[in-house]
């Protein structure tokens, strides 16, 4: 089903209010915490989520990631992840 992406490049993604991103020493991983649950994030998902601060646009987040990991073709991966994170209700996008 082709549809508009949930977030455009000039949207500003932010964590939904009941979510908290946190580094877990005991698990050596970033986790996303929400009411009565937890998602352990992969290394790449962690890099994206750490940059979601409710102030930075999606476009700027991608540029920042491209600068941090030069040579990696990560644009589409980021867009896919953002789409998934939005569909799961982790993040919302304010224009």
């Amino acid at each position: 089903m082709p549809s508009e992406p949930a977030l455009q490049l000039d949207d500003t993604p932010q964590l939904c209010k009941q979510f908290r991103l946190q580094y877990e020493q005991a698990r050596s991983a970033w986790v996303l915490l929400y009411p009565e649950g937890m998602v352990k994030l992969s290394a790449s998902a962690s890099e994206i989520m750490k940059r979601i601060d409710g102030k930075t646009t999606l476009g700027a987040i991608i540029r920042d990631l491209e600068a941090a990991f030069p040579g990696a073709a990560l644009r589409q991966d980021v867009l896919d992840f953002i789409e998934t994170a939005h569909a799961r209700g982790w993040i919302s996008g304010a224009p």
Binding site: Q18, R20, Q22, P35, G37
Partner: protein, 389 residues
């Protein structure tokens, strides 16, 4: 814990058991309500004195060091602990995600403000009747006004509105009205939690088990409501396991994710495990949580699959459901090492189908409310303590 969360928790791959993800702190068995479906032990009045504030603070620190990240503050009614604010404050400082599981009775503007400031992450408000007239569950104006007031407080303090409604035969036909009420209260999440038959709920099972037709209708009503309400309200409907043919993956495996500490400091792999015979569960007053989690007999007994009997032992699904629930196996078959009889491969599956039939026929036995008087009366009736086989 919702499936999305538990599925993401790391599994026990190494020889050492995985770290706990959850610490459930049952702060008190005291409760202003008398719910007939409560899973607290029948003999809760015979348990030892409640842990002190400093003992709970130590439990929180040890649990966090062990790896627990989700904290449930429950009971009884946890708001009856006057040190709840101090415990929340410590929990936030330690990095827990703290969930208050409450009836809302006793929640005031002042206290919720203090919880917010202390860093409480989430409040799960349950719908329960505060009167003895269960049939007034929905019509009780007093209850509705109290819940409306509490729901407003929760929203004003910028918490998501999470409602939990325990479902049983006496209210399952009102699921549509329950959902409308939830919408009117501005709920963002609603959990229609079908009764699990432990403790008081097991005692009252013949009065609480719905019929299959009721469950089907309630699910249909829930699905229609989901379509109507869309994304603004997420509704979880958990089918009661007596109607299933495979058991639930209880606690995500024994001693694998959950660690419950009861009001008197007894540590359990699940909140109902205390009833199991022949198992000495450790107490946090006598041992560290680390020793309890890794080394105690109570936590090791049903870890892995070496304890399993047939049909579980050779079953390919044992990695998925861990043989189901030890407490249910004990309650229905008398042996916690048997397969959970919810499974239709269990030789005892007829215990479940018979229970469903018995509930349909009905019973003349009166419903027993969870209160101190009934708890003591049940204790007095008990012939001899159940011991190991």
């Amino acid at each position: 814990m919702h499936a999305a969360g538990s599925a993401a928790l790391p599994s026990a791959e190494r020889s050492r058991p995985a770290r706990p993800g959850w610490l459930l702190a049952e702060l008190t068995y005291r409760c202003p309500l008398h719910c007939v479906f409560c899973y607290n032990p029948l003999d809760y009045t015979a348990q030892g004195p409640e842990l002190s504030t400093s003992e709970w603070l130590r439990v929180l620190r040890e649990g966090r060091a062990l790896g627990a990240v989700q904290l449930g503050l429950s009971g009884g009614e946890p708001l009856l602990r006057e040190d709840l604010e101090a415990l929340v404050d410590e929990a936030r400082g330690l990095g827990y995600y703290s969930n208050l599981i409450t009836s809302g009775v006793g929640l005031t503007e002042q206290r919720i403000g203090a919880f917010k400031q202390a860093g409480l992450d989430h409040i799960q408000l349950s719908f329960q009747d505060s009167t003895r007239e269960l049939n007034d569950f929905l019509s009780s104006t007093r209850t509705f006004e109290l819940k409306s007031k509490i729901a407003k407080l929760i929203k004003e303090h910028d918490y998501p509105m999470v409602l939990n409604v325990v479902i049983h035969r006496l209210n399952i036909d009102h699921v549509g009205q329950i959902l409308e009420m939830a919408e009117a209260l501005g709920a963002e999440y609603v959990e229609l939690a079908n009764t699990q038959y432990y403790g008081w709920a097991h005692l009252n099972r013949d009065r609480l088990l719905p019929t299959r037709e009721q469950v089907v209708r309630a699910e249909e009503t829930t699905n229609r409501f989901r379509e109507k309400v869309g994304r603004k309200m997420r509704i979880f409907f958990v089918v009661p396991d007596y109607f299933e043919v495979r058991p639930k993956a209880c606690m995500n495996g024994w001693g694998s994710v959950f660690l419950t500490v009861t009001p008197d400091g007894t540590a359990l792999p699940c909140h109902a495990a205390r009833m199991l015979p022949g198992l000495a569960f450790p107490n946090v007053r006598e041992a560290s949580l680390e020793a309890i989690w890794y080394d105690s007999e109570g936590f090791n007994r049903y870890r892995g699959d070496a304890w399993m009997k047939e049909p579980c032992r050779s079953c390919p699904e044992k990695v998925k459901d861990f043989g189901g629930c030890r407490c249910q196996a004990y309650l229905l078959t008398g042996d916690p090492a048997n397969a959970d009889p919810v499974c239709d491969l269990s030789p005892h599956h007829d215990r479940v189908t018979q229970a469903l039939l018995a509930a349909q026929v009905g019973t003349a036995r009166p419903i027993v409310f969870r209160d101190d008087r009934n708890s003591r009366a049940l204790l007095a009736q008990r012939p001899t303590p159940v011991t190991a086989k």
